[in-house]
Symmetry: C2
């Protein structure tokens, strides 16, 4: 098709609408007349009119031609943005990060920069799918989701010692939806839920929607603090414990085998169900113990997604659990979202089974290790110490001098185009006022540290 000519006609008509030489309700020149006038083919004009009609700018009336559509809805002058002075609640980082313009620096966000992601792999998968003459493009997914992808996931998690058959895996639209479905199944308002302190801030936001009581368990360099975990179980009869396996968010700590074993022993004596969120699995250097593997998916439910290493756009998560729970979780999924995204599951399957994904991961790990080193060095100069030096992953949990308030520093940084993740966003106890989580992949631009340094100085002055 003559795309440029068609675009020319569309612009020609659009200009006349904007300058009001064509008013709402007025008739457009006939296809034949405009073709003659612009010296273009009739098919070009027809296609341009069709596209204008599809956009709601003009209307076709059968037998009498095309007309300028009624009053056009006002366009948004600007997008809604979270107020710059929005309180730093559990959703603050998500909203600032997701709404940020491309020139904003994002050391506070939980994802990789666009140019670290495997665009070519996904593009290849999409092209492949677009050539297949099949119903992938229009049919609803099956309730559990694409069987081939569930078979693959079953094999992938087996490498972490988690044994499943594909019928024990339910695809979801995202890792977050996976956790949400499990919460819907097990929780009622006022139930008690344990989280790590600190933990991923969106766990707080999600649990707030479920109207439950949240108790934070201090997280050590080996996993949750066992004494606090045991006391919380005894005193509060909690229903659920949500944690990360593999690489902990925000601290970068890795659960040790001994701690995992003790956690499970405590869980067994309680009423607890555990959600093990494994979304950073593909960034690990060595396979850490998984609670779900030790427990044999009895009380531990394993969830994951590929948003961190593959795409935050083509989204698919999953739940691995025992068969009797899968059946009920599937019913809840259908009731609340009907089908999953069939196309996304196909793209994910195609990308994961392409050998390039493994190469992408290997390069990614090397790149992250370098970024980790350089971030640690830069932060040292600002007197920010790593709580631990993570073996792998995106995150560094940085400790500032005790008296500094990182929420206030984050506000100053935001005004200067840098989104930070202040410590107390991650904390139920609010004991992390002087911490910041850094995404090392988003810390390549030295401007991050310049703005941060300035904000810390300002905070120090404010306090004097």
């Amino acid at each position: 098709m003559k795309t440029t000519k068609i675009d020319f006609v569309i612009q020609h008509i659009n200009a006349q609408i904007k300058t009001r030489s064509l008013l709402p309700g007025s008739r457009l020149p006939s296809v034949r007349a405009l073709a003659r006038q612009l010296n273009l083919s009739i098919s070009t004009i027809v296609e341009a009119y069709e596209r204008l009609a599809a956009q709601g700018l003009i209307e076709a009336k059968t037998g009498s031609g095309f007309f300028i559509a009624g009053p056009i809805a006002p366009l948004s002058i600007s997008e809604i943005h979270p107020k710059i002075n929005r309180n730093i609640d559990p959703l603050w980082i998500s909203r600032q990060g997701l709404e940020a313009k491309s020139d904003v620096l994002k050391p506070g966000c939980g994802w990789l920069p666009a140019d670290w992601m495997p665009h070519e792999n996904i593009r290849k998968a999409i092209r492949k799918i677009s050539k297949v003459n099949s119903n992938i493009l229009t049919d609803y997914a099956t309730p559990l989701g694409l069987l081939a992808l569930r078979e693959l996931l079953s094999r992938r998690i087996l490498s972490k010692g988690i044994e499943t058959i594909p019928n024990q895996i339910l695809l979801t639209d995202s890792g977050t939806q996976a956790i949400d479905l499990i919460c819907r199944y097990f929780l009622k308002p006022n139930d008690v839920v344990l989280v790590d302190d600190p933990c991923y801030f969106n766990f707080h936001a999600l649990l707030k929607v479920h109207q439950v009581q949240i108790i934070g368990i201090p997280y050590t360099q080996n996993g949750p603090d066992l004494a606090a975990f045991s006391t919380a179980i005894q005193n509060h009869n909690p229903r659920l414990y949500i944690t990360n396996s593999g690489i902990h968010n925000p601290t970068g700590a890795i659960l040790t085998a001994a701690t995992a074993y003790q956690v499970l022993k405590l869980v067994e004596q309680s009423n607890l169900i555990v959600i093990e969120d494994d979304i950073f699995a593909d960034l690990e250097l060595h396979t850490a113990p998984r609670l779900a593997a030790l427990d044999g998916l009895s009380r531990v439910i394993h969830i994951g997604s590929f948003s961190k290493t593959l795409s935050g756009s083509v989204r698919t998560g999953y739940i691995a659990t025992k068969h009797e729970w899968i059946e009920d979780l599937t019913d809840i999924k259908i009731a609340t979202s009907f089908g999953g995204n069939h196309l996304s599951a196909e793209i994910l399957f195609s990308t994961l089974t392409d050998g390039n994904y493994r190469k992408h991961l290997e390069e990614l790990k090397i790149r992250l290790a370098k970024a980790m080193d350089s971030t640690i060095k830069q932060l040292e100069q600002l007197n920010i110490k790593p709580w631990l030096k993570p073996q792998a992953g995106l995150f560094l949990w940085g400790e500032l001098p005790k008296h500094l308030d990182t929420a206030s520093i984050a506000q100053t940084c935001l005004e200067n185009g840098v989104i930070l993740a202040p410590g107390n966003s991650f904390s139920q106890s609010q004991n992390f006022k002087n911490f910041i989580r850094f995404n090392v992949a988003q810390c390549i631009n030295p401007q991050v540290f310049a703005v941060l340094s300035h904000a810390i100085q300002q905070e120090q002055e404010r306090q004097n």
Copy 2:
């Protein structure tokens, strides 16, 4: 790339794994050796090994080559299927329909047959997007979702008299998720919710998850029964009313202007919020009144999607409501699903703004009208009467002789490869034992009526 040669190598290795000539842990031939042996290039073998590794079938060990992976997770022998004797609850039709093999006939399902859907339009959109060098493929969506699509939706719903700016529109992963988010925002357990009787069965399933009390309002050929609606408001102080606008599911009735006006007057005197589910909008022949248009999006929230006319695979729904509610609904969306499906929104935008979508709709309406006529004629021969003759849409609400139980007929049909939608699945009052909803697009195959006729006969014999 030499796809066939690569596939040949993959099959070659797979065969050896299956026949156990290569056991778990054993080393594969070196790339060079296998290339020589099979007389193929080294790059072909490397790519085949990479793909086998991506599928978890073999493992690379740095410096020492490729090995057969450990015990392979058992594959599912068969998929979970809802038991054929599962009780006919609100999820019965969804699960039977979504899990059905392709040779099963589906007059009970709520979607179009695959070959009625615009595959070429979507394929074109996907190809276009795969060529763009952009971050559509990997970046999270913004919280409200793709601005261009929201601008388009704003213009589209204006043609139904609903005035919005794009900031009043929130994209969701599906129409069902749109309703679910609104329920999460407004409802608490034990609240009272009004639905039409009959109504779309998934409203019952969704509301059950929210643990609310459901009251059915008899649906007339002009809309909800006003006396019953008024009484329910007075006696139960309901919080929410969920209904279809445009074309009612399952009856095919269209809300009249006079009824819409009276409904709104009653709503204004109450505590009610109304969800107007408009997912069949694009199948209308004439624009019916919309509650959201009359009400100015004050108490009425308008939702929609394109699963019925464009794709059940590439899913995107939307909510149009007042700005203050959008902000809170966005927070709930992020907390419970983080980002929306960015790629799906781009594909939808591209498909909708292509002139071919309008042509697809015009052809679809003609095809549906023909299918409606023919279904009505076929059903007459089985003594099944249309409750009304719908002006448009997919559905015909068929009435059988009073004594017949369509749940029992549906079970017989299922055993014979036909999924029906028995009347009481749609009903809170359970007053529709002798009704069936027919999707006329899925009634083209005469086998539907043969199986149905046989099942009716059997039900008649059972009763004698």
